[in-house]
Symmetry: C2
Amino acid sequence: MVTKKDIIGAREAIKDKVHYTPVFHSTILSKQCGYNLYMKAENLQKTGSFKIRGATNRLTNALNEGSLPGVITASSGNHGQAVAYVAQKAKVPCTVVMPENAPQAKIDAAKNYGAEIIFCGTTSQERLDKAQKLANEKGHLYIPPYDHPHIIAGQGTIGLEILEQVSDVQAVLVPIGGGGLLSGIVTAIKESAPQVKVYGVEPQFSNSMYISLQEGKITARDTIDTIADGLRSKQPGDLTFPIVKKYVDDILLVTDEEIIKTMKLIMQYQKLVVEPSGATATAAVLFNKLPSKYKTVTSIISGGNIDFSRLASLITQ
Amino acid sequence: MVTKKDIIGAREAIKDKVHYTPVFHSTILSKQCGYNLYMKAENLQKTGSFKIRGATNRLTNALNEGSLPGVITASSGNHGQAVAYVAQKAKVPCTVVMPENAPQAKIDAAKNYGAEIIFCGTTSQERLDKAQKLANEKGHLYIPPYDHPHIIAGQGTIGLEILEQVSDVQAVLVPIGGGGLLSGIVTAIKESAPQVKVYGVEPQFSNSMYISLQEGKITARDTIDTIADGLRSKQPGDLTFPIVKKYVDDILLVTDEEIIKTMKLIMQYQKLVVEPSGATATAAVLFNKLPSKYKTVTSIISGGNIDFSRLASLITQ
């Protein structure tokens, strides 16, 4: 299992390559929700999301073990962009496997970071199989989106930063896709300041971590329905689930409507561009999903990558 | 004339009441324009624009001279919001004179900060006359948007911060409405680090400072046509013009199309919500209006207050 020591190691490995992102306090939103609300702005991170932390840590560790002919990933979203960026910086060739119907903006983003794009099917399983097959054939390193100790430890560096930036924090809220961000942050916090509560937040109809914890074992959701495209995971990871089960205080659920309203509030009052997944944790604070006993809380704004056409449509709803 | 000493005084007066805003470096935009580009994010300032600096300094100085029955302003834009906010914090009644056709969003913003709204005509001269008449009748303090030493000195505090935050800055770019922001910043910089160049930036068809400098005296533009609503001034101020004339290195002009493209680039790569006026200075950097000899430059993002319907329409153009 990943430990605080791994996260401290990750911090050392990535410190010159990623931003130490700011934390913003919102007077207006604090007044509105009744908590003293801080937001950790990972949307201002390089490549527009936290994903670069894990990808950098994974690649740095792999390069320490020897040279690499290439890296490969199957994500067309924030993780894919992060891997392409990190590989380009390290001068390692990168391949991104994308669905045949991938939006042009995502194709362009990966190409801008110098990645080679391979199209394959339309389901994530097809892409995953293709990526792993290619990695084996070519001897390239497959970098998974969350289920690897280096990825989890990289994302966990956010937890260390929050404890430094918000010294009186009582509760931290983290969005859940596969659970990499949450398992990293909760490890950093519970092994440094165990009195601080850590909550995972899932969209109501993409809540496989919630279901899995109820069942006591990794359990898939058949249908996923949420606007938060970064959080559409069918089930938790083999590595992330046990960590979440061990440490996380509770899972909170929010609706898509609450997510959209929160995006708009963050844009209006904090002047930050945020994607739906990035607004999910803050939505749990603003829409009263959290026990009222806390005074100071911090939510993660996990990313800000969103097409203008989609953003325009959401903010005028 | 306002001096660096006044600006240091303003800094002391406002330091616990306004944000020391962050400066962001953009790798992608720097690569695109060929300069090492930093942006001073006054859109993250309280009330969403730099205007609170001048308003706070003016009110603080006035209160030091005795109690105040009230303050009054004629601006429905960022200055009006800033005055309403500052007055509410200081528990001083505030009146904002607005045009009869003011957008509901601006009325609501001033009301949210506890201001009383009075509607009057549709031209700025009608509102100005009304505000000054009311101020005289009631003994309230009229707070002008730019042409007052305390306002200029308050805005100038941004110049001191930039010199601390970007120690190797060679050129600073500032948008021009009435010239309060520019005259404050240029005073702070030229009286601290005279080797740093300071440029004002105006929309092509709202360039009364440019025309006035060419004419050698304050000169009005008859018609104003720009999307940058915060920069629609007919002529420079009596106090701001001599300062700009004395110190500013040059005035650069940008088109509305360049302003809109810059808004989109700042949103896409920096994840910051910016209003058209707020993107104007950066547009001069990104669209090659600046001499190419500089390595490190800093533009002011002056504000981020924009209605969602307008924002949606601009980003999908």
